[in-house]
């Protein structure tokens, strides 16, 4: 590449960089400073696994004023594949700033929850942590939740029909054979040579 060519390329890079920087500065100047927010979580004391637990969180600004109409997300700390937050529910705050989540614990022990407000241009993001205990019998799989309960209603009929079909086949085979043997035997004349059988 010639010296002239290199000079041209550097000039283009400089112009494009200046344009991006200027656009970013202008955007930053347009955004007002976001107000701080806070989240207060209310959770059950103890909870039975697989039963819906009601976790609520109130979103307020720095002065304690309730903020309604904002989305909050509920995360649970899971550890089987390394500690990580798993999103389990999402709700919008009411006029009193409270959002209520329904969450079913799936193990026995401490359930560590985190509620996160992602923030807007007016309000800064915030989050809060809390925990409660899941105790009692582990009944993780309830048939009704997966639609298997309905099987109980029609399964006996299907089994009954299948068994009836099998027994009908037995009866048809035997009756048909008995009739065929009796009728053929009656039709055969006593002195006629009989077929191979």
């Amino acid at each position: 590449m010639t010296t002239r060519g290199m000079t041209s390329a550097l000039a283009i890079v400089a112009i494009v960089s200046t344009m991006f920087f200027a656009a970013g500065t202008a955007r930053a100047q347009q955004e007002p400073t976001a107000r701080a927010t806070a989240i207060k979580i209310t959770q059950p004391a103890d909870q039975v696994p697989a039963k819906p637990a009601s976790v609520s969180a109130q979103l307020t600004d720095a002065s304690g004023k309730a903020l309604g109409g904002f989305p909050l997300k509920l995360y649970v700390l899971t550890e089987p594949f390394g500690a990580r937050l798993m999103k389990v529910a999402e709700a919008t705050t009411e006029a009193d700033g409270v959002a209520t989540f329904s969450y079913k614990p799936t193990w026995v022990g401490d359930i560590k929850v985190t509620v996160i407000f992602a923030g807007t241009k007016d309000f800064a993001a915030s989050q809060s942590n809390s925990q409660f205990k899941a105790v009692g019998p582990v009944t993780l799989h309830r048939n009704a939740d997966f639609g298997l309960e309905s099987i109980r209603q029609w399964a006996p009929t299907v089994v009954g029909l299948l068994v009836a079909a099998i027994w009908s086949t037995f009866i048809v085979v035997v009756v048909r054979l008995v009739f065929a043997i009796r009728s053929d035997d009656a039709a055969a004349t006593p002195n006629a040579p009989r077929a191979k059988g």
């Binding site: 085979v173 009728s183 053929d184 035997d185 059988g197």
Partner: protein
């Protein structure tokens, strides 16, 4: 050998055991009766004193008895499925085998079906299954499929027997006692070998051959679900049903080889049951052993990779723990060595294939024990520990009695009807003088 002399030989060989037993027959029959009687005494003792006389307890409530149920029923539906498949595919070498397979299937089913009752301890409570049983329970499913299977099996055995009963009725005449003459007359249903009768019989056998396959497969499948619908370690598996079906056919074919070897020698059927029969079944056994190994590896690899909770410790128990010697004895002695014995041309003969089959049957008995007992011995409570199960003499005596009951029943069966289907050999050689045709001319009902 001409077709007519061959058929004459077949008829004589098939009928010989029906006419006379001989002292060897009576000696073996007496020995088996003694073994069965000892089992009967043991069961009476268990009835009197309860299941406390066995090694069973609150934890290991299924021991030898349920292992035996799976084992004997497995032999039964394995034999039934093998016979049905042979009939439907019409393999030419099946004619000497199907009667034996169907008889083994019925004898093993009768022996195996007793074990749920024996395991109850209070057998009169078996009635509660019918009175209070719920369709959601796999135990009720088991009662339904086993009942269907037993009826299907009796029909499956009986239909091809009709022409042979007619042969006995017409040809054996005065050489039989009055009771047997009357019985053959009734069981032959008036068969005279008319084309219409043969057509309907052929259709009936085909229908039953098709029907017996799903009906028989339902039995090991439901038995497998009886285990796998629980969350017990070692039982909580999705492949148990096909695994049980495959194991059943594997042990059923091996049992056929053993019984075939004994019957061939005892009833002098060397010209009918040839080395080719053993070789063909041997090839089948290699294929079945390979498939069984594949299922077993698939089962243990998926469990072993995760090694979760009790399932992991269960696997350790089998692979490297207290039961490792039993498990590896099964793998090497019950699967790999028999495969090698049949695969090597030097040992691929009647003796080699029979010895391999004995190893397979014993190995499959051990495998059923390894499925049933460790799953129960493993504690699922944090406060409890692994508990060993040891069968007592009562369970051993009852198990031996059931094992003796199969040849005992077969000996009775082959005194009542021909060990080889004369009718089917006749159908395979239409140019020869069919015995039933002779029967039709010379005799009536």
């Amino acid at each position: 050998m001409t077709a007519s002399s061959m058929e004459s030989g077949i008829r004589e060989a098939a009928i010989r055991p029906v006419l006379r037993g001989g002292w060897r027959w009576w000696a073996i029959f007496a020995l088996l009766t003694v073994i069965i009687s000892v089992g009967g005494v043991a069961y009476a003792y268990q009835l009197k004193d309860g299941l406390a006389v066995t090694g069973l307890d609150q934890r290991t409530s299924w021991g030898f008895y349920i292992s035996n149920l799976i084992f004997f029923m497995g032999i039964s539906y394995g034999a039934a499925i093998a016979s049905a498949v042979m009939r439907l595919t019409d393999v030419p070498w099946r004619r000497g085998l199907t009667r034996m397979l169907e008889s083994i299937a019925l004898a093993a089913a009768l022996a195996g079906a007793l074990f749920p009752v024996i395991d109850l301890g209070r057998p009169e409570r078996g009635w509660y299954l019918f009175r209070y049983g719920q369709i959601g329970s796999p135990v009720v499913w088991d009662v339904i499929v086993v009942t269907n299977y037993l009826v299907a099996l009796i029909l499956f055995l009986y239909l091809p027997l009709i022409p042979d009963f007619a042969y006995c009725r017409d040809q054996l005449g005065d050489r039989l006692g009055r009771v047997r003459r009357v019985s053959y007359r009734a069981l032959a249903l008036g068969w005279s070998g008319q084309p219409g009768q043969r057509k309907v019989l052929r259709q009936g056998i085909t229908v039953m051959s098709i029907l017996i396959i799903p009906v028989a497969m339902a039995v090991p499948s439901v038995l497998a679900w009886l285990f796998s619908v629980t969350v017990r370690p070692g039982w909580n598996s999705t492949i148990f049903a096909p695994y049980f079906v495959l194991g059943a056919v594997f042990s059923g074919v091996a049992a056929l080889v053993i019984i075939m070897a004994v019957i061939r020698k005892a009833y002098h059927l060397e010209s009918i049951i040839t080395e080719q029969h053993f070789r063909m079944l041997g090839y089948g056994l290699i294929a079945l052993a390979g498939a069984y190994l594949y299922f077993m590896i698939s089962e243990y690899v998926t469990e072993g990779y995760k090694m979760t909770g009790e399932t992991g410790s269960q696997l350790e128990l089998l692979m490297t723990g207290d039961l490792a010697w039993v498990f590896w004895l099964f793998v090497v002695g019950g699967v790999l060595l028999p495969m090698a014995t049949i695969a090597i041309p030097l040992t691929r003969n009647i003796l080699g294939i029979t010895v391999a089959s004995i190893a397979i049957v014993l190995g499959m008995f051990v495998k059923r024990f390894l499925i049933v007992v460790p799953g129960l011995a493993e504690s699922v409570l944090p406060t409890d520990v692994l508990k060993a199960y040891e069968p007592t003499w009562v369970e051993v005596a009852i198990t031996l009695a059931a094992a003796a009951a199969i040849p005992w029943l077969l000996m009775i069966f082959f005194r009542l009807f021909p060990v080889i289907s004369i009718h089917e050999f006749e159908a395979a050689h239409p140019d020869g003088p069919p015995p039933s045709a002779v029967a039709g001319v010379t005799g009536g009902k």
